[in-house]
């Protein structure tokens, strides 16, 4: 986390291990109870994946190099894979120690600091290290992300040795920038929104901020220690140096993920496919109905109009008249209804790609059965499903977990994509992808709702993402709720879990039996 200007954020965190107080993005929450993660392959008694040991991922880099962005993105991905991961921001411990208003000694980061500063430094470091080891040794943690500057080679070696004693591997991730423009851009977008810089011009604020970094942290050694495990990302991934990292499953996965990560911000939109001629039949793969086509047109118009108004908005706020949004790409599944829903975009010259991994959850043998019939035929399955709607599979069906594993390549491409992106898919796929971007727990994912009259927009930020809903006006009411491909089940009375809380959405909105509203904030949110 930013070392200098995050007092306001620290004020929000009521304990050192952060739990985000908003209902926006749960990436900073530690899961309350033991539950499997969205794409976890298996569970073990220890709670850790057996083919990898415990790892501390330690960031290295000066402020404004994107360390927090990398830490958060990595934690999101690892949690998604079912690796129990937590981020420890050293800055939080420092602030807790000196208090909200307390001043840090000026030589705190200096190599030849006064003995009182060194003492303070060691005390803070020790506290953070103890909590990391507690997480790894006593809370079944597998990966601790230690977000700190770690400027000196000697300090890094000592850190790795210290963790080695506890049989924990240390993987360093350095974010380095040789391109001043990237640093300035980063400072401008993340750091100087603080109240400290109210009424400053951006140029002056950037200059002042960089000067403060230079005087506070005058000594920084880039990673050259070939005996340590490290990944060095230079200029936001333009060059990546991977040193001595083939020590396990997770290290390789992390490197692959980092290869696809960039720090440019872009929008993601989610929307549903139109309704089809053969609504109830999953296997038929039917074409859009007339209503479905009308929906596709309205949705396309709404999104294009929304983007145009965003652009005008930017111009109204001082951007030049020639400002263009990022190009918009569209991904659909290979199911006919999503391809046909995206056809309107293709006709208007947008780039549309089909992704076979994005087909909806397969409902298996229960397709087209009524709830009563399912309860009659598979009472045991219904009981199991009610216990764990995320992992349970009806006979021959896919669970949400299966779907999440199948979507992994899509997640990586999602991270790599630099253009704005619209994903047209079945509600089940949207739930899982949304669950990744917003760090939802496995229990919540099957309950997320994506009514057809709304386009979901995910707005990325380095500390956490936020979402908003764009209303599509003028749709007939019967199109709005439920997935057309859902199994038609009568709405369960209030308080009763439907056997298909996962697969289906109740037929009518506002009937009193709706599952929890998903955690989608209506307003945008900027934390730092």
């Amino acid at each position: 986390m930013d070392t200098l200007l995050t007092a306001d954020l620290a004020a929000k965190s009521f304990m050192l291990r952060r739990r985000s107080s908003t209902n926006v993005d749960a990436i900073h929450d530690l899961p309350e109870k033991e539950s499997l993660a969205p794409a976890q392959l298996y569970s073990t008694e220890s709670g850790r994946l057996f083919h990898s040991g415990r790892i501390v991922i330690s960031t290295v880099g000066l402020p404004a190099r994107g360390k927090t962005h990398i830490s958060v993105a990595l934690a999101r991905y690892l949690r998604w894979l079912g690796v129990k991961t937590h981020i420890f921001h050293l800055g939080d411990y420092r602030r807790a120690h000196v208090g909200q208003t307390g001043e840090m000694p000026d030589d705190y980061f200096h190599v030849n600091a006064s003995s009182s500063s060194v003492l303070l430094r060691n005390k803070i470091l020790k506290k953070c290290r103890e909590e990391i080891l507690h997480f790894l040794n006593h809370e079944n943690g597998q990966i601790a992300i230690y977000d700190a500057v770690n400027p000196l080679a000697a300090g890094r070696r000592a850190l790795a040795r210290e963790f080695e004693k506890h049989n924990v591997q240390t993987l360093f991730i350095e974010s380095a920038c040789t391109d001043e423009r990237i640093i300035e851009e980063n400072v401008r977008s993340v750091k100087i929104s603080s109240p400290d810089y109210k009424n400053w011009t951006p140029e002056e604020a950037v200059r002042d901020y960089l000067q403060r970094i230079n005087s506070r942290i005058p000594h920084f050694e880039t990673m050259e220690e070939t005996d340590l495990h490290y990944v060095k990302m230079i200029n936001a991934g333009e060059r990546v140096i991977v040193n001595n990292c083939a020590f396990g499953y997770l290290s390789q996965r992390i490197v692959f993920y980092l290869l696809n990560l960039h720090i440019k911000s872009r929008q993601t939109y989610f929307c549903r496919a139109g309704t089809t001629k053969d609504e109830e039949n999953y296997k038929a793969d039917a074409s859009l109905s007339a209503e479905g086509e009308a929906y596709a047109h309205k949705m396309t118009d709404t999104l294009i109009a929304h983007r145009e108004s965003e652009r005008r908005n930017l111009i109204a706020h001082g951007a030049p008249e020639s400002t263009a949004l990022k190009p918009l790409n569209v991904w659909t599944s290979t199911r006919r209804r999503t391809v046909e829903t995206g056809a309107e975009f293709e006709a208007r010259g947008y780039r549309v790609r089909q992704r076979s991994q994005m087909s909806q959850l397969n409902p298996g043998v229960c397709e087209k059965m009524s709830e009563r019939k399912i309860r009659e035929k598979f009472p045991d399955e219904v009981a199991k499903h009610e216990q764990d709607p995320y992992h349970h599979r009806y006979p021959r069906a896919e669970s949400y977990h299966d779907l999440a594993v199948r979507l992994e390549p899509i997640i990586l491409e999602l991270e790599r994509e630099q253009n704005d992106l619209l994903i047209i898919a079945h509600e089940s796929v949207l739930r899982v992808l949304y669950g990744y971007l917003m760090a939802c727990s496995a229990t919540d994912i099957p309950k997320l709702q994506f009514p057809r009259n709304e386009i979901i927009e995910i707005i990325p930020a380095s500390y956490n993402n936020s979402a908003k809903r764009i209303h599509i006006p003028g749709l007939p009411q019967k199109l709005v709720p439920g997935s057309p491909e859902d199994i038609q089940i009568p709405v369960a009375p209030s308080g009763t879990a439907s056997p298909f809380s996962g697969i289906g959405t109740p037929a009518e909105e506002g009937s009193g039996s709706l599952p929890l509203r998903p955690r989608i904030a209506v307003t945008s949110h900027s934390p730092t």
């Binding site: 392959l41 298996y42 057996f50 070939t226 991934g237 333009e238 060059r239 990546v240 140096i241 991977v242 040193n243 001595n244 990292c245 083939a246 499953y249 390789q252 490197v255 692959f256 290869l259 696809n260 999953y282 296997k283 038929a284 793969d285 290979t334 199911r335 006919r336 391809v339 780039r351 549309v352 790609r353 089909q354 076979s356 991994q357 397969n362 599979r393 006979p395 021959r396 896919e398 977990h401 299966d402 594993v405 199948r406 992994e408 390549p409 990586l412 491409e413 790599r416």
Partner: protein, 480 residues
């Protein structure tokens, strides 16, 4: 990335209306490195991996072009002060690059691998400029190695069997080869700051350090990730179908049936069969999530992992039907599937192409892992087998994999060796020949008949190179 996308024509025609799309990105992977640094091994593996993912890839080996002019040159030929040698080698490089550019003009061809030492900066710059002019992206992959032990073992295992030294004394060959490397070392320039504008991946000492520069798109990151997962430790992969199931007996496809009595017998014998082949080496068992594979693996004394990705090809509306019923109920589909089995997607189900896509993480895990035993299903096994053996998409869906047979695959530098072990437990055959009627074979085969049939099929159905196999049970396939 370029804006245009393209639907693969071949799949469009025969699937239910929608095909798989590939990016319109053409990439030339340019190998860089001194001789005996594993460049050709990497090139071969990448071609096989991409081909398996339906990304058409081809390797252009400059040595092969040079060999047409000078079949068996000695080390002096590679001396840079040897003007004639220099001229011939440049001509070979030009011929290879010309052919590659021609090959890229076909819209389906996406990735070429230029396998040569490409040891100087001017040579690499020249390749990049040629490719830029043709609108082809370049990624340079350098294998740099200064560990003597790795280089020597590489020379002994691979290079002395090179066509350049055919029929020569191995010791003499190795000595000449070391001389040849020295010639290259004089002019060799590693990828460095001067080439910071290029996309490259530099692998130092078999991955102890990897430098990745300017990766431009997902496909390139995929290739790099794959390269980073490769290891050279010796290991084997054992694959088996589940034991005979109740559905196998009735001739139904799909489903989640239990094992038959004979299937259970196979499960009991499997530990002995595995032990006979693997000895005491440690291994991990992977199964699908269906009952029949878990039941087949139940007696194996190893760590087990169930993967949903290893489940049988989903036959959608046809799940639980016999081939005869499918032919009767969906005659057009039955015929369409025969015409292009790889791309045919069952109504509401999957095609072989879909199965390959979902198996990709499994392949990556397999490349990373050491000894693995996979108990899975016919279609999935065919796809995994096709990856290791490089079988074509036309043939792999028709490959015969009998029940109650354990296949051992051992990856070597230039080929994967195959061995088949049969349990002495009879089973029905579930194999249906292309274009044949959908009659369910009710007769059971004895073990010897089974083995015999297996050899016939292997010869007829599998890759043509292995048609002269020595014996049905121990057969090695050679890849060029």
């Amino acid at each position: 990335m370029r804006p245009a996308t393209r639907t693969r024509g071949s799949s469009n025609a025969v699937t239910n209306g929608v095909g798989v799309q590939a990016e319109d990105t053409r990439i030339c992977v340019v190998m860089v490195g001194l001789p005996a640094r594993g460049k050709s091994l990497i090139a071969q593996k990448v071609v096989r991996y991409l081909g398996w993912l339906s990304i058409t890839a081809k390797c252009f080996n400059v040595g092969n072009y040079r060999r047409t002019a000078t079949p068996q040159p000695n080390a002096a030929f590679f001396d840079t002060s040897n003007k004639e040698g220099e001229r011939l080698r440049k001509a070979a490089a030009e011929a290879a690059v010309d052919d590659m550019c021609k090959w890229f003009r076909s819209p389906d061809n996406l990735i070429a691998i230029l396998d040569a030492t490409n040891s100087t900066k001017p040579r690499r710059r020249w390749i990049k400029e040629r490719c830029d002019a043709e609108g082809i992206e370049t990624i340079f992959v350098e294998s740099k190695c200064d560990r003597e032990d790795i280089i020597l073992s590489n020379i002994l295992e691979v290079k002395t069997t090179s066509p350049d030294y055919e029929g020569l004394d191995p010791e003499h060959a190795a000595k000449d080869f070391l001389e040849r490397i020295k010639m290259y070392e004089r002019v060799y320039e590693t990828l460095d700051e001067d080439e910071a504008d290029m996309t490259y991946c530099k692998i130092i000492n078999v991955g102890s350090q990897v430098i990745i520069n300017r990766i431009q798109d997902y496909l390139q990151s995929r290739v790099v990730y794959y390269l980073m997962n490769l290891h050279i430790k010796p290991r084997s992969i054992w694959i088996s179908r589940h034991g005979e199931s109740m559905y196998n007996l009735s001739g139904q496809i799909g489903g989640d049936a239990n094992l038959s009595a004979r299937g259970r017998k196979y499960a009991e014998e499997l530990p002995t069969l595995v032990k006979r082949s693997a000895g005491d080496s440690p291994l991990t068992v992977w199964t699908s999530t269906l009952k029949r594979t878990a039941q087949t693996a139940q007696h194996l004394p190893y760590e087990k992992l169930a993967w949903k990705a290893l489940d049988e090809l989903d036959s959608g509306v046809c799940d639980g039907l016999t081939y005869a019923e499918i032919e009767e109920k969906y005659p057009r589909d039955f015929k369409a599937r025969d015409e292009d089995k790889y791309n045919y997607r069952y109504l509401g189900g999957e095609s072989y192409r879909d199965v390959v896509i979902r198996l990709e993480p499994i392949i990556m895990e397999l490349e990373r892992s050491e000894n693995i035993l996979i108990v899975t299903h016919q279609a999935v096994l065919r796809c995994i087998y096709a990856y290791f053996m490089g079988s074509t998409q036309e043939k792999s869906p028709w490959m015969e994999v009998p029940l109650h047979c354990l296949i051992r695959l051992t990856p070597r530098a230039y080929k994967t060796e195959e061995e088949r072990l049969f349990a002495d437990v009879p089973a029905v055959s579930t194999w249906r020949e292309k274009g044949s009627k959908a009659a369910h074979q009710v007769q059971t085969l004895s073990i010897s008949e089974c083995a015999e049939m297996c050899t016939d099929i292997a010869c007829a159905q599998d890759t043509p190179e292995n048609s002269r196999r020595p014996s049905p049970s121990i057969a090695a396939q050679t890849k060029p």
